[in-house]
Structures are given as structure tokens and as C-alpha cells.
């Protein structure tokens, strides 16, 4: 007993910088033996109010100023002070070195948990997952954000904060439509941006002029049919506006670009919630248990850790008053843990469902299941019948043409595949967000911009559509029309300014 206790890294719940260093070294050592590949870590100890700051700037370590972040902050602050909400124990930023925040108020156990979760779990995910690898550039993001902050505050100085705020408001409304979903963007770099920014402003302005030439060109033979612009529908609304909006000043275009770049940076995070949290939770659980097995931490440490682990992993059932949809931590953790089980102790069911890797080496299977997937495909590929049974998943169809809701599939042998497909599509951003694209610009007429919304499962647009169109109209400067399509027929049209006003004027 005395030998064992002499190996303990610490006793008691107070942390010190030395202890954090020791724990980090030990956890890092264990992580290394499991083959986790990470960026270097930058662990920052902060106060709770600084955590609220970090929170409200949506995880950007350097954020430009905007009232909406203030609103967010005010909200977080109030909820925290009233005890409605505990602050997250950590925030981790996809950058190189990977920045993780530890809160001063946490006990040593919680700090160790956060180090394992953020500095080795999330960190290795950022470094390994294909979406992050291709869409974000961890080494450049901080510099870029610094550039963006400076550019925006300079613009405020030159053009007034009111004008800048308006542009930002409009851009934020369209932020989710500022990402390239298929094309790999160039990595961003602050220096490059600065160097090219002037050049780009001139180039865009010059090109616009050819597009919006007002002097009639002599028509060539065979040019009768009107040329369509854009030639193909465009899904990246902000990009389209940045390049083609007729009335924007160069600085306004640059701000559109900044919001677009930030949206692009966060896009992988929105697509890998379950995987990212699941992966990090799986590893904090595995790493800390290993610490315990090696006798480096005591029972009290483990009890505190398990208490907070279970609290985070809690999945209320659909009829629970606290039910807010599926908890990505719970689902992700369950899936990665189950993958390990399938490798180590496969049942017959597992062998028939996952012949490729049942009984395989989990240290190879799991990293593969982290690297090459996003939530949608990850669930489609790896959600096992056992996890569905454990979580008691069931799918319901709510069709407004029917009087009742129908249970379409449950966790039984007939329903596994169906439930899995349904759950996967629930994490498909393409289905979750209305599919809206730019289809037409009236180059010769009133310069109006036409968007099309292709309805998915007959789902109409929400009540905020008109407000968003107002923002789009502000950016475009000419009338904007949005057509909702169901099976290639326009079922609803919204426009800004409204048609009636136009005819009256």
C-alpha cells in the first residue's frame, strides 16, 4: 500500500502549475503509447470571466468586435450568475499549437480531465480528421483572425462603426451560406491576405465593371439567346456577393470575405460534432483509466472524474423534461467505446455487421474511424446494433399530411439499418439547412438577384426568411427574389423589397 501511494502524482484537489505539468507529462506519455498524434499544446489557465469571454466570441481566440458577441456574452453571464448553467470546463481551439483553456476554479482532477479531453483528444482529432486537414489551416488561423480584427477596426475608424456593423449583420445572417462545400479552399494566411488584399480589391472592381457594363455591346451573330449568369447555380452566397455584388465598396467586399473565411474555418466543426466530442471523451476516459491502472491517481480522483464524466455523458430519453435532442458526447462516446469492444470482444452479430474489423486491432480501427469520416458517414458506417439498443433509438415520421406521427423504425433487427440511415441524415448539414442557391441575375434588366430553394421533404422555409432576404438585399443593392421549389415547381416566392411596394412606387 505504501509503495502504491508513493507513486501518486498528487493528493488533494488543489492544483499547482507544477502538478499540471506533471499530469500533462504523464497523460502525454500514455497518449503517445496509444499512438495519438497531436499538435504541440498551449495550455492557458484563465479565470471564469475570461472563460465567458472566450465563450461569447464563439471560440475565436481573437475576435473582431460586434454587438452579437456582446449579446451572447450578456446571455452567458446571466445564466452563469443565476446558476442555470455551469461553464464548460474547457475550450479548445483548432490551431497550431493547439490552445486549450483551463479554468482556475477547477480541481486538479478536472484539470487532468480537461488536459486528457482537450489537449490529447480534440487535439489529435484536429490534426487527424480529413475535414480539418483539408479545410482549415491550423497554423495560420490565429494570424488570420488578428488580421481580420485589425481590418475591421480600421474600417470602423474610416467608415464609421455603424456602416461596418450593418455589413457584418448582413454577413452573419448568411454565414452558413458562406462555405464551399465541395471545393477545397486555399489555406488562409494573414501575410498573404494583407499582400493580396489591395490587389484583389482592384481586380474585383475592374471585373465588375465588365459585368455591369452599361454601354450596349454590339451583338454578334448567333448570340441571340440571352446569356445566363451565373452559368451554374452557386451555393456559396457570400462568395457570390463578394465577387459580383454591384454596389459594394472594396472594404465591404473584404469584410464579406472575412466572415466567409471564418465560416469556412468553423465548417468542419459543425460537421463533426459527434465524432469530435466522442473521440475526445473516449480518450479522456481511456487515458485517465490508464493513469489509475498504473497507480498514479487515487480512488478519490477517479470518483470525482467518473461523477463528472457520467454527468456529461447523460442522455435523457425523449420524454424527459431535460431532453434537448441527442447528446453528441453520449452518442460519440458510446460509438467509439463500442468500436473498441467490437475489436476486442466481438459477438456473432458484430462479425456479421462489421466483418472488416471485428476482432481486429482497435488501435488501428479507431484512428481510421476518426480520420476519414464526418458525422453523417461515421454514423452510417459504424453505428452498431448494440449502441442502438443501448440508447433505445427509434425513428418517427412527422408528416403534415397525416393526422398522426408514425414510428417508422425502432431498435430491432428489422429497424437497425433504417434507424441508422435516419440518424445519419439527421447529421447531414445538407439536409438540415435549407438548400438555397443563386440561380439568376438579371444583367440587362433591373439587376435583380434570384435564389432558389429546393425543398427537402416538402419542408418550407421558416419565418425568418424575409428578414434574411432584407440582409441579402442590403448586400446586393438591387431587388432579391427567393423561389421555393418542390419537384421543380415554384410553390412560394418571397422577395425584398416586396412586390407590392415595387409596383406602388
Amino acid at each position: 500500500m505504501s509503495r502504491k501511494s508513493s507513486k501518486l502524482l498528487s493528493e488533494g484537489s488543489d492544483w499547482t502549475f507544477e502538478l499540471i505539468e506533471i499530469y500533462d507529462r504523464e497523460i502525454g506519455r500514455i497518449a503517445h503509447t496509444f499512438g495519438l498524434d497531436t499538435y504541440p499544446n498551449q495550455i492557458e489557465v484563465i479565470r471564469s470571466d475570461q472563460m465567458m469571454d472566450a465563450y461569447s466570441s464563439i471560440g475565436m481566440p481573437v475576435g473582431y468586435n460586434h454587438w452579437s458577441f456582446g449579446k451572447h456574452f450578456v446571455d452567458v453571464e446571466r445564466n452563469y450568475q443565476r446558476g442555470l448553467m455551469g461553464l464548460a470546463y474547457e475550450i479548445v481551439i483548432n490551431s497550431n499549437p493547439c490552445i486549450a483553456y483551463l479554468m482556475e476554479e477547477n480541481s486538479m482532477t478536472m484539470q487532468a480531465l480537461v488536459i486528457a479531453h482537450a489537449c490529447y483528444g480534440h487535439n489529435s482529432f484536429f490534426k487527424g480528421n480529413y475535414l480539418f486537414r483539408t479545410w482549415t489551416d491550423a497554423s495560420a488561423i490565429i494570424d488570420y483572425l488578428v488580421f481580420a480584427k485589425k481590418y475591421i477596426s480600421d474600417s470602423e475608424e474610416r467608415y464609421g462603426s455603424q456602416a461596418v456593423e450593418e455589413i457584418l449583420d448582413s454577413c452573419h445572417a448568411l454565414m452558413n451560406y458562406g462555405v464551399d462545400r465541395y471545393k477545397r479552399p486555399h489555406p488562409i494566411s494573414a501575410e498573404e491576405e494583407k499582400r493580396r488584399q489591395v490587389e484583389r480589391a482592384e481586380y474585383v472592381q475592374r471585373n465588375l465593371n465588365t459585368l455591369w457594363r452599361t454601354i450596349p455591346q454590339t451583338k454578334q451573330a448567333g448570340d441571340d439567346e440571352e446569356e445566363r449568369f451565373p452559368k451554374e447555380p452557386q451555393e456559396n452566397l457570400l462568395y457570390f456577393i463578394e465577387k459580383n455584388a454591384p454596389l459594394l465598396e472594396p472594404w465591404q467586399r473584404e469584410i464579406v470575405r472575412i466572415v466567409r473565411k471564418v465560416a469556412q474555418y468553423f465548417y468542419p466543426q459543425r460537421q463533426t460534432q459527434v465524432m469530435n466530442e466522442g473521440w475526445a471523451s473516449f480518450w479522456h476516459y481511456t487515458l485517465l483509466n490508464q493513469l489509475y491502472d498504473e497507480g498514479l491517481v487515487n480512488d478519490g480522483f477517479m470518483l470525482e472524474f467518473l461523477a463528472s464524466h457520467t454527468a456529461v455523458m447523460f442522455q435523457p430519453s425523449y420524454d424527459h423534461p431535460g431532453y434537448r435532442g441527442i447528446n453528441p458526447y453520449a452518442l460519440g462516446f458510446a460509438m467509439y467505446s463500442d468500436l473498441r469492444r467490437i475489436c476486442e470482444n466481438p459477438t456473432d452479430e458484430d462479425r456479421s455487421w462489421f466483418p472488416d474489423f471485428a476482432g481486429g486491432n482497435w488501435l488501428e480501427v479507431l484512428p481510421g474511424a476518426m480520420r476519414d469520416f464526418k458525422d453523417e458517414s461515421f454514423i452510417l458506417q459504424f453505428l452498431s446494433p448494440k449502441v442502438m439498443r443501448d440508447l433505445k433509438l427509434f425513428g418517427v415520421v412527422d408528416d403534415d399530411k397525416e393526422s398522426d406521427i408514425e414510428v417508422s423504425a425502432i431498435h430491432d433487427s428489422d429497424g437497425y439499418r433504417r434507424v441508422r440511415e435516419l440518424l445519419a441524415s439527421q447529421y447531414n448539414l445538407g439536409d438540415q439547412e435549407p438548400n438555397i442557391q443563386v440561380v439568376r441575375v438579371d444583367l440587362t434588366g433591373d439587376r435583380s438577384l434570384t435564389l432558389q430553394h429546393c425543398q427537402h421533404e416538402r419542408r418550407p422555409l421558416g419565418s425568418t426568411t424575409e428578414d434574411v432576404l432584407k440582409h441579402l438585399h442590403r448586400l446586393w443593392g438591387f431587388p432579391v427574389r427567393l423561389e421555393s421549389l418542390w419537384q421543380d415547381e415554384v410553390v412560394e416566392t418571397t422577395s425584398c423589397p416586396k412586390i407590392e411596394e415595387q409596383t406602388a412606387a
Binding site: 452558413n176 433505445k392 425502432i410 435516419l422 422555409l461
Partner: protein, 421 residues
């Protein structure tokens, strides 16, 4: 490889700018909430902020999202009783069960947005376009208090302010200047003397000894410390704007003042107190209550004990004059008076009041406000004061309050920022 950084000492309030922008944007809403809140406060209760509610519609950040309708499939956890093909009645309220998935995407939804203003922000909004009257004028008149400040050294002064270090420095410099040459000669002479003694030149040695003696005497004659070396610390009087205020709350507690009138008066005092507190480093309050005789009391007694009897307003004004003479010199204090009453006064007393105010009080105070809280018509006191208001438009004002809702507007009116013209 990990780096561990302690960021706890980093500046606070990284979000302050964003928070301020948010407040600016919703100024209109917040101001309304603030002035509503004023009517529901107690005088001691200035140490907290205020909760502000803004309707969800006004504050939302719209994005494209799906509305209700169409066909949607959702996967839920925790199935207990359902099997495939079960049909369930749609939960009432439309978006009950099915909408649960949406709620997480859209954040606040349509709920009202509620948040807390800090006390500072609360007062900022409350007194947004108000200013203290006569503040600048009073300063120009030269009513400053003074502060002594260190301002270098001087040659003359009292012993208490002697700067030893400076004086010794000075003395040393003088000594170097006056003896430098002699010391050089002395050193040379000593050297020569040694040489002479070595050579055995007795006559030379004797002459040199004489010379050395002479030089040593000369050096000795330069005093270690001379009166011209003395340096004194100098302090100058620098005027600082008076930054303390005293507020006199005068209230009639005769039988005719019931609790509701007192409550209204109290709210008025509360506003005035909060307002003064923002402008002055130190704010004292003196509570004077009166019926036929005036008495200085504590806050609790001021607002809550009841007395009966007639009303002699001048007794309170007289007591105020006495207290000012006694404790609050107008040179050091900015004096504000606020009198609340239902307008009753002993008939013969009203001219005395106005005389007291005109001759004694008004020249001393920054501002004197009289609020009459009554639903009846005005009486003699109001009419007397009316004349005063004409004579002293700068430092005297009276207003009439009928109901609780009047309080803030009246206050606002009294202290409204006047144009610089």
C-alpha cells in the same frame, strides 16, 4: 510538448467592447426598462443593477432555417413502449416533440431576451441626458478646495521641510568647488615633502610643512554645511474642484402627509441621491423632518415614523442653515437641498420661508428643489416660492407631483441638460 501559460492576470473584460455595442444598439429598449424600474425601488437599494427584457423579435439574428410543415423524420433515444408502425397523436402545441430537434439549432428561439445591467450601466442609462445645474458656474467662481502638491525644492523654508539629502548634495558640490584647488596643491606639497625628507633637504621640508599647514587650514575653513546649501521641499497649493456634496432632504411629517405621499417623496430623494453619487466622490445626506419644529433624524425615522401637529416649514429651513454653518462650509461642499411637502404651511410662515431662502440659503446652495406632492390646488407656500423661482432661475426650482408616474419625468425635467448656449 506542452506550454503552460498563466493568463489569469490578463486584462479583464475582453468582451466589454462587444457588451457596450450591444447596449448601444438596444438603447431604446433599455432606457424604457430603466425608467420603469425606477418607480419600484427603495432608496437604499441602489447597489444593484436591473434586469432588462427585450422582445425576441427585436433582437434575433435571422438565418435561413426550415419552418414547420413538410415531412420530417427524427431519431429519438429512450424508446420504452413503441414498436414499428405505431401511430401516435401529434402532441398539442404543434412543434412539441418534433420541434425539439430544431430548438437546439436556433438558440434562443422566440423567447424574450433577458439580461442584467450592472449598477453603473443602470445609472448610466437613467441619467443619460441629465446634468447637475450650475456645476461649471460654481467652479468658475473659484470655489475650490486646495491640495498641496510636491513641486521641487526651494532655498527658503521652514526647518520642518528641510530636505537633508538635497542639502548635503548641495554642500558637497560647494565643498568640491571651493577646496578642489587647495586639495590638489596639498597633495602635490605632501609628495614634495616626502621627496624632500628622503633627500634630507630640511629647509625645503620645513617650508613645505608650513605650506601644508596653510593649505589644510584653508580647506578646514570651508564649512561642511553652509546656510546657502540648505534646500527645502517645496509644496504648492493646487486648486481641486470640490468633489463632495451634501444633500439635504427636508420633509414635512405633519398629520396631513400620509405614507403614500412619503413614498413618493422617498423615490424622488432616491433619484437625487443616486444622481449626486455619480458626480461627487463623497455624498452626505442629511435628513431633516419637521412639523412645527424641525429635527435631524436617521433615514429610517425620516421615512417611517409619524407625527401629528401643525406645519412650520421655516423651522426646517432654519435648521438647515444651522447645520450648514456648523458642518458643511459652502467653500468645501456642494450643497443641494430637496424639499418635499404636501403644500401645507402655517399661513404666516410662508413669507418667512421665502425670506430665509432668499437671504440665507440660496446664496449658499448649488440647487434647491421643491416638490409639492398633492392632488389639491396650491397654497401660500407654492405662491411664495413662485416668486423665488423667478428671482433665482439658476438655483431654485419647484415642481408639482400628483402620482408616482410623475416622479421620474419631474426629476428629468429638473435636471435636464441645458444647452450650452
Amino acid at each position: 510538448m506542452s506550454y503552460i501559460i498563466d493568463r489569469r492576470e490578463n486584462s479583464k473584460n475582453k468582451s466589454a467592447v462587444n457588451r457596450q455595442r450591444f447596449l448601444d444598439r438596444y438603447k431604446k429598449h433599455i432606457k424604457k426598462a430603466v425608467s420603469d424600474a425606477v418607480d419600484a425601488r427603495s432608496i437604499t437599494d441602489v447597489e444593484r443593477g436591473e434586469e432588462v427584457t427585450i422582445a425576441g423579435d427585436d433582437i434575433s439574428e435571422p438565418v435561413f432555417q426550415h419552418g414547420s410543415g413538410g415531412r420530417r423524420t427524427v431519431v429519438h433515444p429512450g424508446n420504452k413502449e413503441f414498436v414499428t408502425g405505431d401511430r401516435i397523436q401529434r402532441p398539442s402545441g404543434g412543434s412539441g416533440g418534433g420541434g425539439a430537434g430544431d430548438a437546439s439549432d436556433s438558440g434562443e428561439g422566440d423567447d424574450d431576451f433577458v439580461f442584467q445591467l450592472t449598477q453603473d450601466e443602470f445609472l448610466e442609462f437613467l441619467f443619460d441626458d441629465l446634468a447637475l445645474p450650475n456645476l461649471t458656474k460654481r467652479h468658475l467662481k473659484g470655489n475650490f478646495s486646495f491640495k498641496y502638491e510636491h513641486a521641487g525644492f526651494t532655498n527658503y523654508g521652514v526647518p520642518a521641510k528641510l530636505s537633508v539629502l538635497r542639502s548635503l548634495k548641495q554642500a558637497k558640490a560647494r565643498r568640491i568647488a571651493l577646496c578642489g584647488n587647495s586639495r590638489k596643491l596639498l597633495a602635490a606639497a605632501i609628495e614634495k615633502l616626502e621627496e624632500a625628507e628622503a633627500k634630507g633637504d630640511e629647509l625645503g621640508a620645513f617650508r613645505l610643512t608650513d605650506e601644508i599647514e596653510l593649505l589644510e587650514k584653508r580647506i578646514k575653513r570651508v564649512p561642511f554645511l553652509d546656510t546657502i546649501d540648505l534646500r527645502y521641499k517645496m509644496h504648492i497649493k493646487r486648486p481641486v474642484p470640490t468633489s463632495q456634496a451634501v444633500m439635504f432632504c427636508l420633509m414635512d411629517v405633519s398629520g396631513s402627509m400620509d405614507q403614500s405621499i412619503k413614498d413618493m417623496a422617498k423615490r424622488f430623494y432616491l433619484l437625487l441621491y443616486m444622481f449626486l453619487k455619480r458626480h461627487y466622490e463623497k455624498t452626505d445626506i442629511v435628513f431633516i423632518r419637521h412639523h412645527t419644529v424641525a429635527k435631524e433624524v436617521e433615514e429610517q425615522e425620516f421615512f417611517y415614523s409619524r407625527e401629528t401637529g401643525g406645519t412650520v416649514v421655516s423651522s426646517a429651513l432654519r435648521l438647515m442653515t444651522e447645520i450648514i454653518d456648523d458642518r458643511y462650509s459652502p467653500n468645501e461642499w456642494n450643497i443641494y437641498g430637496a424639499q418635499a411637502s404636501d403644500g401645507d404651511n402655517w399661513n404666516d410662515d410662508s413669507p418667512t420661508c421665502s425670506k430665509l431662502l432668499r437671504e440665507k440659503l440660496l446664496p449658499m446652495v448649488q440647487y434647491f428643489a421643491y416638490v409639492e406632492i398633492t392632488k389639491r390646488s396650491h397654497q401660500a407656500l407654492w405662491r411664495e416660492y413662485d416668486q423665488l423661482a423667478d428671482e433665482f432661475p439658476e438655483s431654485f426650482a419647484q415642481r408639482h407631483i400628483q402620482k408616482v408616474a410623475d416622479i421620474f419625468p419631474v426629476f428629468h425635467d429638473l435636471f435636464h441638460k441645458k444647452d450650452a448656449a
